[in-house]
């Protein structure tokens, strides 16, 4: 766990505020800003396919970020995240279709509605240990998905619900190239929000609850409040991401949001690194690119002996699920701190180069 934090010589931190800044060095901040600016050119540079991949990574990244608040910072697990994601999608579609509220406001509203529903499911388990929350969220997953397939007034039942394209002041942002900026804005804002949350009193309280909840309680942290809060936050980000997904796809259906999708979200968090904010994005990208890699491998092997023996092409979905599961297990056993830890090690190596020992 101990990551060697390398502070450049002569950089003394003289106040608590300086110690908790998001970017400890000016160079770091400049690079981050440069990165965001460079990504702004992505729609002009990337092909249609990779652009849509990036949008999806961004959307799932927001949902995974919510889950990381719960898993990484508060030490609770949820296996109902996909259901909350879908709830956000349906809510936003419902609000923008049935009421005059424009999509621009429907997205945050969907997040709030999802957070409230999340709180209802989180309440019974909030006073208990993580295990019970897992089981409560398992129930939430099944109950919500069942509700979506049943409630025709809300989700259209078996018919997929339609969602309007994103628009601000009658200016429609249709198509990947424009929608990319909407997702980018949401990603930047939510990652900044969570980073800021984690350096506030509430964020530290969440971490204290994770590390030793009895001590946390003795220090005056209200356990129920913070567990519920983190659950609500997780649901909130899932809802926002779901809403963004709805207005990206323009159609929302139950399909593909079973428990496997919830496990996929957990995979993103674990692979990225539990309790690492930037790691979440890395983990999301990793998980989303696994199918690409698998496809590439199966293309390479096409026609060969292995392909004929295993019928790779016909079973790509299963192979992907197996790969995701094995990767989760491998990360948990060999690299519990995830990609974020690896990234820090690589950075440290280059900082100390050529005296890396």
């Amino acid at each position: 766990m101990a990551s060697p934090s390398l502070i450049p010589a002569g950089d003394f931190r003289t106040s608590y505020a300086v110690d908790t800044t998001i970017f400890p060095t000016t160079t770091g901040r400049n690079f981050a800003i440069l990165g965001v600016v460079l990504i702004c050119f992505a729609p002009q540079l990337l092909s249609e396919y990779w652009l849509s991949q990036m949008i999806v990574i961004g959307i799932y990244g927001i949902a995974a970020l919510g889950l990381n608040i719960l898993v990484g910072f508060t030490g609770q697990i949820s296996i109902g995240h996909a259901a909350f994601f879908l709830l956000g999608a349906f809510t936003s579609a419902y609000i923008s279709n049935k009421t005059p509220i424009p999509v621009f406001f429907a997205i945050p509203l969907a997040g709030i509605v999802t957070a409230i529903v999340g709180l209802i499911f989180g309440l019974p388990a909030a006073r208990l240990k993580g295990l019970y929350l897992v089981i409560a969220t398992l129930a939430a997953q099944y109950i919500l998905i069942d509700f979506f397939s049943r409630a025709e007034w809300f989700s259209g039942g078996s018919v997929p619900a339609m969602a309007k394209p994103f628009s601000i002041f009658d200016y429609e942002l249709r198509g990947d190239r424009k929608y990319f900026y909407v997702v980018l804005a949401y990603v930047v804002v939510s990652y900044l929000l969570v980073t800021n949350l984690m350096r506030s009193r509430d964020g530290r309280a969440l971490v204290a609850v994770r590390d030793h909840y009895l001590s946390a309680e003795i220090m005056g942290i209200n356990l129920t409040k913070y567990r519920t809060l983190s659950f609500g936050l997780a649901a909130f980000f899932a809802g926002i991401a779901g809403a963004l997904y709805a207005h990206y796809q323009l159609v929302v259906s139950n399909e593909g949001f079973g428990i496997e999708r919830s496990i996929l979200f957990l995979a993103m968090v674990i692979i990225g690194g539990t309790g690492s904010i930037m790691g979440t994005l890395m983990g999301t990208a990793f998980v989303m690119l696994v199918p690409e890699a698998m496809e590439w491998i199966s293309m390479e092997l096409k026609g060969g002996v292995i392909d004929k023996a295993l019928a790779l092409n016909n079973n790509l979905t299963f192979l992907r699920e197996i790969a995701i599961g094995l990767i989760i297990i491998a990360f948990l056993v060999f690299e519990p701190d995830g990609l974020a830890h690896r990234w820090r090690q690589i950075k440290t190596y280059w900082k100390l180069y050529p005296f890396s020992h």
Binding site: A139, Y142, I324
Partner: protein, 297 residues
Amino acid sequence: MNTQFLLQLLVNGLVVGTLYGVVAMSFVLIYKATQVVNFAQGELLLIGAWVCWTLLTKYQVPFWLGMPMTLVFMFAFGILVQVVILRPLIGEPIISVIMVTIALSAVFQAALKWIYGVNPQPFPRVFTSQSVTIGSLQIQTVYVMSLVVSVLMMLGMAWFFKVSKWGLAMRATAFNQQVAQSLGISVKTVFAMAWAISAMVSAVAGVVVAVVNGVSSGLSIYGIKVFPAVILGGLDSIGGAVVGGIIIGLLENFAQFVDSEYLHWGNLYEVAPFYVLIIILMIKPYGLFGTKDIERV
């Protein structure tokens, strides 16, 4: 009110409920002995059923030989999973352990779909299917067989824990690992044995379900239905698991009755246990027979 239909459903509920009870029992066995919440319990059921199916149809092994072979396989498989995957995680936070079992269930599920395809397969006829008429009820013999097997397994489990040396060692380990170790019990072996026995019991349940309904990946839903049952009974009570399983089975079928007679919502059968689960978590989180945790610092 349609009494005939209700009775029929309740008998169904009892049969399914005892099966839930058996699976819940094997779930609690792992939880009690090794503190691992096993999300892959349903997949153990599925693996057992598929292995038996393969032996019986692909290799034409007779049932009386195929079943013990399945059990031997599951015994080894349980030990393998424990030793290779869960042993390195001893001492890790509970989250990691839960995540590993969730990932395991995903891997097994996908691997089995890959090997056997997604279509359900009929199980070879082990018993000539007839129906027995009790009163006004028609009950299929497979159901009676399933009930008998389940009850036998429960009795076997009771004997195992009350009388046998291994069972006592397991209970001692569940009570306190250090004390058990100082009494000469190998905690490592007990952990492996808990997985092996749990896998075997699950496999028997899996084969029973397969004989009744055929083998398909839908079997693993038993692993999910286990959660309402064990939460109702109390996570660490084997007797509670059995009672919880039977109650959930009855309740499911009762929900179906209410649904088809009065409400007409459709599909209430599937989700009713989960509503119950949420309610139990709210009012009585340690279940009917579970021990309340008292934390000492």
